[in-house]
Symmetry: C2
Subunit: 408 residues, 2 copies
């Protein structure tokens, strides 16, 4: 760190304008946890009655804040809730001191905001294994609490960035039975991204009214189709946290509103794609779509094998239409495949079929396609009806440069 | 390809001097399959009575030569055997033409050497998906057959190289009941290396006398402890082939000689380590030793998770003692782990224990250790008696450079 990274060439043109969400107040501050000259802590206060659902990393070495959040999901909602997030230090693998940091921060947030400790959710992201200087965060909580205000979503997105090169946000206002419901979300993440849950930090706020169990079920369902379908480097964070807070301020109950689930899906997919677009060193945004597999699970195994293959990803970086490496990745995945029934396409270009290169394929057309910044690799296994789509990026010198000296 | 790669800094000082093996004759030639100005085909003729055992890639998209070899293992040995290998083109995913190429080559070898087609084993290594110009190989078989001679093991090692930066060989003469037995082996491989069988080409010759089933069982057993314990990039070749030919010329029967198995193990491990030392772009040779796991299988899962993690491998490239990434890799592996019982060592340096950095650890000592070209990462999970050791290399800019334009 220390040096600023150039903004990803795959970044959206600008931050969107997500709606302010009733029942949500946000503040950010520069506490100097690690970074200098930028905000690094965000605080969100949520109105009484807010339902909070969460999905977390499945890592066996998950951090103290993650364990604390997992215990608190599903608790009473009467007295509201708070979310506090710092960047620069992940408070992961910090032993007993990690737990002490979580306790110190949650108690201080409770004192500053009037929310009970059992409803204060924390997250920390950054270097693993160094003690979190939680005093710096605690010292700023009075100031943070006083500056809480509606909106502020872009500020929040900026405060939680680590190696991210752009802040990530998405939002929408939808109409349900003629009444307005808003959803706004932010995400951070660009390395240590692999789908065993969200592998990043994501916070989504909505003024919809929904029972916590229904929200929890919906969030888990949608995570499997969005954040669990992206991979940058096959590495899984110890700190991944996705929280969705539904304040109910709109007065619109959405437990059985499919349009709400659709809108939430779209926002989660948008944020997931933005994480891939900010993949460390990425120059290509790549969709890997597998169909014709024996099962959906097999399709996912093949898609991830392609998306995580260093040889496929370096070929994409080199704009090399090296479809032989896609055959290799399918072959090694362990899921069912028949070499002679495979069909491979680059976008609309038929590349290979019947166990060999397609007669119509030209290397020039393939090479020309590879110069695009957004690519689609489509594989039909010819075995059944299983399908899956995942998203990834290429593997470049930029990834090596960022990660060979992250701590220096 | 095209441009010559610098020899790996981890290469042995020189090619060893493996013993000439009775019953084995070798020849090499420049057939111009793809490369210019170097040998690219090797032919070995094996005396009547030679037992041949083989281990092959488990890829679902394995090549035509691999499928052909697999069918032939275990056949009658009366009339000897032949092995022919080309570099530059893998004849993989080449449809019906791939099978035609294998037939053309094996028939021509049979004609040139007098060995029946059923005892001619072929292998091809190089680019996937391009038709093999087998006529160039067939045209050279008369010349090759005439120049067959004892020894020549280093020439053979050179002829089968692709992106390898040095030829790989190992050998030993051992004494069994006062009688001499020789073993000599060669290997090629530096990318697309992951342990689901050998992920490379390996040929081992011995003048020991051993029944084919006993040799086959021994080879499978030893592969699990050697070639299946190395990984460069987690990618698995479609062409991996390991053949071991026992001519019996020494007259020494080794079916029940543990010293033979030990010697064969050592040669296989030596060759496996050489493959890692020639890992594409490698600057560090890394042993990952996991102990204290619930089972050996869990230990292997953790060891491979560490060895294949891009974030661990880039940290090693940057000489960054980033042990937090090792914690991350253990956490994501899916095998049993308890964050607070982990012990991590770099060589003899105790880095972390009891869920946090060790009190005695200093970042300076860790950083100093990381400047070594040969590293040991040792993890004790504190859960049981399962253990496993794997070998890998770092992930550098060199890997990206080699693989982003392999075909150009």
């Amino acid at each position: 760190m220390g040096k600023a990274l150039a903004v990803s060439p795959l970044a959206p043109a600008s931050f969107p304008e997500p709606p302010a969400i009733g029942g949500v107040e946000i503040a950010t501050v520069a506490a100097g946890v690690k970074y200098q000259g930028r905000t690094d802590v965000m605080l969100a206060r949520l109105a009484p009655g807010t339902a909070i659902a969460g999905v977390f990393t499945r890592s066996a070495t998950r951090s103290a804040p993650v364990l604390d959040c997992q215990e608190k999901i599903g608790g009473a909602t009467d007295e509201g809730a708070a979310i506090v997030v710092n960047s620069g230090n992940s408070n992961a693998f910090t032993g007993g001191r990690g737990v002490e940091s979580v306790q110190a921060i949650t108690q201080a947030v409770a004192k500053a905001t009037g929310v009970p400790v059992a409803r204060v959710f924390t997250a920390s992201t950054g270097v693993i294994g160094e003690p979190l200087p939680h005093d710096r965060i605690v010292a700023k909580l009075g100031e943070l609490s006083e500056s809480l205000a509606p909106g502020q979503i872009e500020d929040a997105a900026r405060a939680i960035m680590t190696t991210d090169t752009f802040p990530k946000g998405a939002g929408r206002t939808l109409s349900i039975d003629g009444q307005k419901v808003g959803i706004a979300g932010i995400a951070k993440g660009s390395g240590m991204i692999a789908p065993d849950m969200a592998t990043m930090l994501v916070y989504i706020f909505t003024d919809a009214a929904i029972a916590q169990p229904a929200l929890q079920a919906m969030l888990a369902r949608l995570t499997d189709k969005t954040f669990n379908c992206i991979t940058v480097d096959s590495d899984t964070s110890t700190s991944d946290t996705l929280l969705c807070a539904a304040t109910g301020a709109s007065g619109v109950t959405v437990d059985d509103a499919p349009e709400f689930e659709t809108a939430l899906h779209d926002i989660m997919l948008d944020l997931a794609h933005q994480v891939v677009r900010d993949g460390e060193g990425a120059t290509k945004f790549v969709e890997v779509a597998v169909s014709g597999a024996a099962t959906d699970e097999d399709a996912r195994t093949h898609a991830l094998s392609i998306a995580n293959s260093p040889l496929v990803k370096t070929a994409l970086a080199g704009e090399d239409p090296n479809w032989g490496r896609i055959v290799m990745a399918i072959g090694k995945s362990g899921a069912a495949a028949d070499r002679d029934r495979l069909t491979i396409r680059f976008g609309d270009i038929l590349v290979a079929e019947n166990g060999w290169v397609a007669p119509s394929y030209s290397e020039e057309a393939g090479a020309d396609y590879m110069t695009n910044a957004e690519l689609v690799i489509a594989v039909d296994l010819g075995l059944g009806t299983g399908s899956a789509t995942v998203w990834t990026c290429d593997l470049t010198h930029g990834y090596i440069s960022i990660n060979a000296d992250y701590r220096s």
